[in-house]
Structures are given as C-alpha cells and as structure tokens.
C-alpha cells in the first residue's frame, strides 16, 4: 500500500522485485493450471452448446434452405467430427482468453486508478522522500489550515473539512507472543464521519449497504473503540459483530487496543482490513508516557511524531491542486519533515513505477507470447484437420464449390470454436470473479469488466483467425487432380 511499511502490506510479503517476479510467475502458472481445470470442466457444456446450435441451425437450414445456413451446418458437423481435436482447440482458446481477461482486468483497474480526473479529484500528501510515508500529527492540522484558509476561496475544498482526511496504518495481533498472519489485523485509523465521502469505492454505496455503514460510522464516532471489519477478516479470526477484541500493536509497539466490533465492511470493499477511529489511536499515543506498558516510563511513544501516513484532500480544479502544491512545497512550517502533494492517480502511478518493467513485460512480452503460442496450437490443430480432409475439400471443389467456399468453411469452423471458447471463457471469468470479489492493494475490489464479454469472443475469434488463415488458404488452394492422383 502506498506509504505503508512493507511489513504491513496486506500479504505481509517482502515485495523485492526478484521475489515479486517469482510470485507473479508462480501466480501465472497457478492461473494457467486453474484455467485448464476450468476449461476441462466446461468442456461438456461446450459440446452441448455445439450440439444444440448444430440442431437449431439444421432446423433453420432445412426450413429455409438458405445456402449460408447449409454451409454453417457443415461447419458445425465438421467440429463434431474429431472431438479430441476440437476439445484441444477449445482448451487452448479458453485458457488464453481467461488469462488475458484477467490481465486485461488488472490493466483496466490500474488504468482507472492512474487516470487523472479533471475536477473534484483527490490529492494525496506524503513524505517527500521516505517510503513508508510518516508525518507528525500536527501536519494534518496545518495542512487543513492551508487548504481552508490560505487557498483562494474558489480553490478551497467544496465541502470544507469534510473533503480532507488522514490515514494512519496500524498492524496488530491478538497473540503478542506468536504473531501470525491469521491473528493479525490491519486497520486504517481515520475520521469515521468521512468514510462514506472520502474512501474510494465506499462513496458509491447505495441502499442497505450504505445505510448499515452510515450507522456503523456514527457508532464509531460516538465510541472511539468501535471498529468495522471486513467479513473475510472476521471469518478468519472467528469473530462476529458485537464481540470485543484485544490487539497488541506491532508497528505501534507496546500499545494495547481494546476494540468493539460494531459492523462489517461491505463485501468486496477493503477486503481484509478494518477501520478504527483515529481519536482512539491519538488517545493511546497521548497516554502512553504514563502507561504501564511503556518500558521507558515518562517517554512518549516512538511513533508519536510520525503517526500520520497519508493525508487526502479533494480539490475542485487542477489549478487548485497546483496552487496548493506550491504552497505545501514552499511552506517553512512543513520544513521539519518534507512533504509533497500529488494527485491520487500520480501517487499510485509513482508507486506503480517500481513495477513498470513487470507491467511492460506482461503487456509486450507475456500477452503477445501467449497469443502467439495459442495461435500456433490452433494452427496446428487446424492444419492437421485440413490435411486429413484434403480429399473432402477436393470433393467439395469437384461438386462446384468455389475456392472461397472452401476457405469460408475452414475459417468458419475455426471462428466458431474461437467464438464459443472465447465467449465461454470470458463468461466464466466475468461471472466467477464478478461474484467472488477480492481486493488487490488499494485498487478497490478486483473485478472483470463487462467489456470482457465482448473482448473474450473477439479475442478467441481473432486468435482462431490468425491460427487458421494458413490452413484455410491451403484448403482453398487444394489441387483436385493432385489430391485424387495421390489417393489413387
């Protein structure tokens, strides 16, 4: 997470480039194996669709006698001729489309997160040079004053103080002696009354989800010890709403938090994390010098001057952002700990900069390589099919079918598999991952965009086309006399 200490990242991994690359490749292998398993599971459905479509087209072809429908029947029947070959082509296209759908979804999500808005966009204040970003608590008040008093009125946040929010990250464990991933809790310490307006993804809530979170935030404001937790974290801790939890701070060493769980975060939003009232954190830090947990009696907590990790502000225009950025950069009052102001998207972009080589590799090496390999698989299957059916193609030509008809039959078979394989794959990716939402870092819930339902079949057909154009041309150019001479 941007500005978050590495040991507090969601997975708790060291995200060094080498390890990250290793994780990505391992993830890709798992993804491909999963895709193959899913493809095998959907294979019967694919053949059922093929059979039903064949019958339907057959009925229409018989009823209308329309030539293109009759040829389509030949295509469908051709696909059912060699179940093994059609299955392999389908599997290749399914796996390719599923993996590319997921890659597309990730790139789409990153694209969304890094695209700049023109107005009412969020900006983010962080430490100028240090990651994790850690700032003194006084900076938040000073920054608010600059925004609400020093900026020209038309450039100030529209909703005043409601448009400015700070985040502090807290990692705690229920078992101080044996901290493990499954007994850890990661919390955002924030101002509860700004949750529904300033947190990405939560400002879009409607209906009962919104109502429940509003009530929970009001309860958090009234009771600083109240927290809301994601369903998945509640489940992994075996806790329910209404129970209490004691957490030993890990990055806030020697702080003991006693929370009351008063609500759940909506599904798919901020998975695995919890929200707490920032006042409780400040109160714990303030009382730490006299706390029995303080090993150095009377001394303030080591995190007391660096407990603000991020500050968010929503600004009305780009001009407002530029003016505020200039003020923040040049103010002596922000001199002790240098800070910088970025748009949220550029902030995320800066963070993603570290991974740009990986994304470049995914976009320009992995994706083309996968398309190339799968095209070869499809081409291989089709060329075997064409070779086996050279005599049949020749017979069609003898009967008067023009070379273009033969070309269309071969192309049509491949495009049909491409359409069905790509379509089913995209449908599975969209349907499955649309229902099992999970979050990647701070990007909000991961989901496969609905566009995939269009791109999936299109990709399947494009790969099939690329793979079969060679065999289709070979079929088109079959020399009838040569074929029969060989047969004889």
């Amino acid at each position: 997470m941007y500005g978050m200490p590495p040991e507090m990242s969601g997975a708790g991994y060291d995200t060094s480039m080498l390890q990250l690359t290793g994780y990505l490749f391992a993830g890709l292998v798992v993804l491909i194996l999963g895709a193959i398993a899913l493809a095998v599971l959907t294979l019967p459905a694919f053949f059922v669709i093929l059979y039903v479509s064949d019958k339907l087209v057959g009925v229409f072809a018989t009823a209308t006698g329309w030539f293109p429908l009759k040829v389509t029947v030949i295509m469908f029947r051709g696909l059912r001729r060699s179940m093994l070959r059609t299955s392999l082509t389908y599997l290749a296209l399914f796996v390719l489309t599923l993996v590319l759908c997921l890659i597309y979804a990730v790139l789409y999500m990153i694209g969304n997160a890094t695209s700049e808005k023109e107005a009412n966009f969020k900006a983010i204040v962080t430490h100028k040079t240090t990651i994790p970003s850690q700032m003194p608590p006084g900076y938040y008040e000073r920054f608010k004053r600059v925004c609400l008093e020093d900026l020209p009125p038309e450039m100030r946040p529209k909703n005043g103080d409601k448009d400015i929010m700070s985040w502090s990250f807290i990692l705690g464990t229920t078992d101080k002696a044996n901290p493990r991933k499954d007994n850890m809790v990661f919390l955002f310490a924030l101002e509860p009354d700004k949750v529904l307006t300033m947190m990405d993804g939560l400002d879009e809530l409607v209906g009962q989800e919104k109502e429940l979170l509003e009530k929970a935030c009001a309860a958090m404001k009234a009771n600083p010890r109240a927290i809301v937790m994601s369903k998945s974290r509640l489940k992994s801790l075996n806790l329910r709403v209404g129970q209490t939890i004691k957490l030993h701070g890990m990055n806030y060493a020697n702080l003991l938090f006693e929370f009351e769980i008063i609500g759940e975060l909506p599904e798919g939003k901020y998975e695995g994390v919890s929200f707490m009232n920032k006042d409780y954190l400040i109160q714990q830090i303030d009382t730490f010098p006299t706390s029995p947990n303080n090993p150095k009696k009377g001394e303030q907590h080591p995190m007391a001057d660096k407990c603000i990790n991020l500050i968010w502000v929503r600004l009305p225009t780009k001009e407002a952002f530029e003016t505020l950025s200039e003020k923040v950069n040049n103010r002596a009052e922000f001199g002790t700990v240098p800070i910088k102001l970025e748009t949220a998207s550029s902030g995320i972009g800066t963070w993603l900069g570290a991974f740009k080589d990986i994304f470049w590799g995914i976009k320009f090496i992995l994706v083309p390589a996968m398309i190339g390999i799968m095209s070869l698989v499809v081409a291989n299957a089709l060329s075997i099919s064409v070779r086996e059916r050279r005599t049949e193609m020749a017979v069609l030509k003898v009967l008067g079918f023009a070379p273009r008809h033969v070309l269309l039959i071969v192309l049509g078979e491949a495009l049909l598999v491409g359409f069905l394989g790509g379509g089913m794959s995209a449908l599975m990716a969209w349907g499955l991952l649309g229902n099992v939402k999970f979050q990647i870092m701070f990007f909000g819930a991961f989901f496969v965009p609905m566009n995939a339902l269009f791109y999936g079949p299109a990709l399947g057909m494009a790969v099939s086309f690329a793979g079969c154009i060679g065999p289709a041309m070979a079929a088109k150019n079959v020399k009838v006399a040569e074929v029969f001479a060989r047969v004889a």
Binding site: V71, V395, F484
Partner: protein, 233 residues
C-alpha cells in the same frame, strides 16, 4: 454411327514436371464422345486415363490442346469458371464414394444443388427423385457410416445425377465393391444412359465393367492405342 459429339478433345497434351524432368502423361490425343454414349477408358496404371478423365471433367488444365463439352470450351476457363461449370454440367462418381461423413445421404445428394439457384421445394424434389432412382429413399436420413459400400456408391450416383448434368464421369466406380454391388452400380449407369440420355465416361481396370460400355478406349503411355465397340452394349 456415333451421335452428335458432346465431348470433343483435340490435340490434347498434358505434362508434369518432377524436379527438372518433364513427364508427358498425354500426347496429342484427339477424341470425340457422342451424346448418350457410355464410354470406358482402359489401360495400365500410368497410362493417363484418370488424367484424361480429370481434364474432360474440368478438374485440371491441359498443357496444350482444346477440350469442348457441349458448347463450352473448358480448356480456357479459370478455376472459378470451371467450378461453376462443373456444378451444372458434370456429375462425378468416385471409386471410394467420397461422401461427406458428417452429412446424411439426403444432405450429401443435396450438396451440389446448394450452389444452384433453386427453391427449397425444387431441391427437395430433385434429391428425392435422385434417391428414388437409386432406390435409397428409405435411407435418406442415414449417414455414410450407416450404409454399406454398395449403398454409399448409390448415394454417390444420386449425387452425380441430381443436377441433371450433361456428362457423368466415373473413376473406377466398381473398384471397391463386391461383384453383386458392382453389377447393381453398372446397371444403374446403364439406366442413366439409356433412360435419361446421360453421356458417361468411365475409367476402369475391370474388363467385365468395361464390357457394359458401348465403346472402349485403350490408352498406353498417354496415347490412344485401341478404340473398339464393346462386346455387349
């Protein structure tokens, strides 16, 4: 005396190149085939009889010479023109039937008609007539794999005549059949000639099959060596 020539072959020459070597398959061949004539082409393997059949049927282009079928000089046609011409004017019967295994007997016979501008009803009528002629109306919804060799060849004959072509060419039509089925096929071909007036050119190695034709041509090394009337006609 031969009726009006429906096939006219003049100074036909066909050669292939294999590496740097030119192989002359047919040399200066001239031939007429009359309307409603049943002609058998015989000769040893490599004598050029199938090549001649392919050229007359418009499946290949001669190196030199002309071929006229009916009013059409087919030796100068492009591949697409030949494809269109074949649909209307030539029916093919193959030794190994070459039915599309994924289509029923009805659909196989209907295939050439799909390329013609016919209504669904006209197509149905023609297919049923063709299948009726070969006595396979009751098998029209069977796929080739569900039919015997003889039945498959009868479907092949129905497919060859369904477009009412000028010319029917047959390459060893009985070569893959038992004696009884072969006899049935030859009888059917005689019916096509005698009752429907079709011109038939058949390549065969079998003297008994050739004897069912009206005329037998013997080829050797790409040239006509004997042109005889068959013993039985």
């Amino acid at each position: 005396m031969m009726s009006r020539a429906i096939v006219q072959v003049r100074d036909l020459h066909k050669s292939f190149t294999r590496g740097t070597e030119a192989i002359h398959v047919l040399r200066d061949l001239t031939l007429d085939v009359g309307e409603a004539e049943f002609l058998a082409l015989m000769g040893p393997s490599g004598s050029g009889k199938t090549t001649l059949l392919n050229l007359i049927a418009g499946l290949d282009q001669p190196t030199a010479g002309t071929i006229t079928v009916g009013e059409n000089v087919i030796s100068g046609m492009s591949e697409s023109e030949l494809a269109r011409w074949r649909t209307r004017h030539v029916g093919f019967i193959f030794q190994f039937y070459y039915l599309l295994p994924v289509l029923t007997a009805y659909e196989n016979v209907e295939l050439p008609l799909l390329l013609l501008n016919l209504t669904k009803e006209q197509r149905r009528k023609q297919v049923e007539n063709a299948l009726g002629l070969v006595r396979l109306t009751d098998r029209m919804n069977h796929r080739p794999g569900q039919l015997s060799g003889g039945q498959q060849q009868r479907v092949g004959i129905a497919r060859a005549m369904v477009t009412d072509p000028t010319l029917i060419v047959a390459d060893e039509p009985t070569g893959d059949l038992d004696t009884r089925s072969a006899d049935e096929i030859l009888q059917l071909m005689e019916i096509l000639r005698a009752q429907l007036g079709k011109t038939i050119i058949m390549v065969t190695h079998d003297p008994k099959a050739a004897a069912r034709a009206q005329r037998i041509l013997h080829l050797e090394k790409g040239q006509l060596v004997l042109d005889t009337a068959a013993a039985v006609s």
